[in-house]
């Protein structure tokens, strides 16, 4: 079982082979857990996020919603990264609520309805920026698109990108740099402004 590829293990698991999942988890546990831990610096929380990540993966695999577009571990990291973002969003929301108790003079009814994250206008602007950015990315060479997506959309470090793309860190840094230069050129030439 240990010599089988990730895609074969996934396919076996989807046919009901539980041992395939065990192999998959044991194969990637260190890399995924380390990725999570160094983003949140809390071992218990990292265990929770790791658990939630694999619970999502299990459900998605059972539902047949996994399509082999890239490496399994990158997909797993993307799920984990989104869960980490959700956690920090929730945390910031909880802090805001706890700061506005009835016992303090600073209490305001608007605090209860205020969304601590972005308001709807900001969300629309953020969505627009992301859409524009994704459209511009299509004009870059494939290898530059890949590093930009991994770095800025999936939140991977340069070291992680280098590992996953079998490049050196210097090449990765260079590729991101050229991609950013090219994006700026496209923006200049087309008078695109991506700010709030």
């Amino acid at each position: 079982m240990k010599s089988k590829s990730d895609s074969l293990l996934i396919s076996l698991y989807q046919k009901g082979d539980e041992l395939a999942l065990s192999t998959l988890i044991h194969r990637h546990q260190r890399e995924l857990f380390t990725f999570i831990f160094y983003k949140i610096n809390d071992e218990d929380l990292a265990n929770d996020v790791f658990q939630d990540t694999f619970m999502k993966i299990i459900l998605m695999l059972k539902e047949g919603r996994y399509n082999e577009e890239g490496k399994f571990i990158l997909w797993a990291k993307r799920i984990a990264y989104n869960l980490i973002i959700d956690h920090f969003r929730l945390k910031s929301k909880n802090i805001k609520v706890s700061e506005t108790t009835f016992e303090t003079d600073e209490y305001s009814i608007f605090d209860l309805i205020r969304e601590p994250s972005e308001n709807i206008e900001d969300q629309l602007v953020t969505n627009q920026i992301q859409e524009d950015l994704l459209r511009m990315l299509q004009f870059l060479p494939q290898n530059q698109q890949e590093v930009i997506k991994l770095r800025f959309f999936d939140g991977l470090s340069f070291k992680e990108i280098a590992d996953h793309t079998d490049m050196s860190i210097n090449t990765t840094l260079g590729r991101v740099r050229y991609a950013l230069i090219n994006l700026r050129k496209i923006m200049d030439e087309n008078n695109i402004i991506l700010t709030r």
């Binding site: 990292a46 265990n47 299990i58």
Partner: protein
């Protein structure tokens, strides 16, 4: 001279209990597919 690689990070592992939970979770959960939605259900 020993090479100093500042980008090297210590690999960590999740708790044994976390892995055991996930393997049990997988064994005990199933997905029922309907036309509009998939529903996770417990096998027990």
């Amino acid at each position: 001279m020993r090479k100093n690689d500042s980008l090297k990070v210590k690999a960590l592992k999740p708790k044994k209990e976390t892995i055991e939970f996930l393997l049990n979770y997988s064994k005990n959960i199933d997905v029922v597919k309907t036309k509009s939605k998939n529903y996770p259900i417990s096998k027990n």
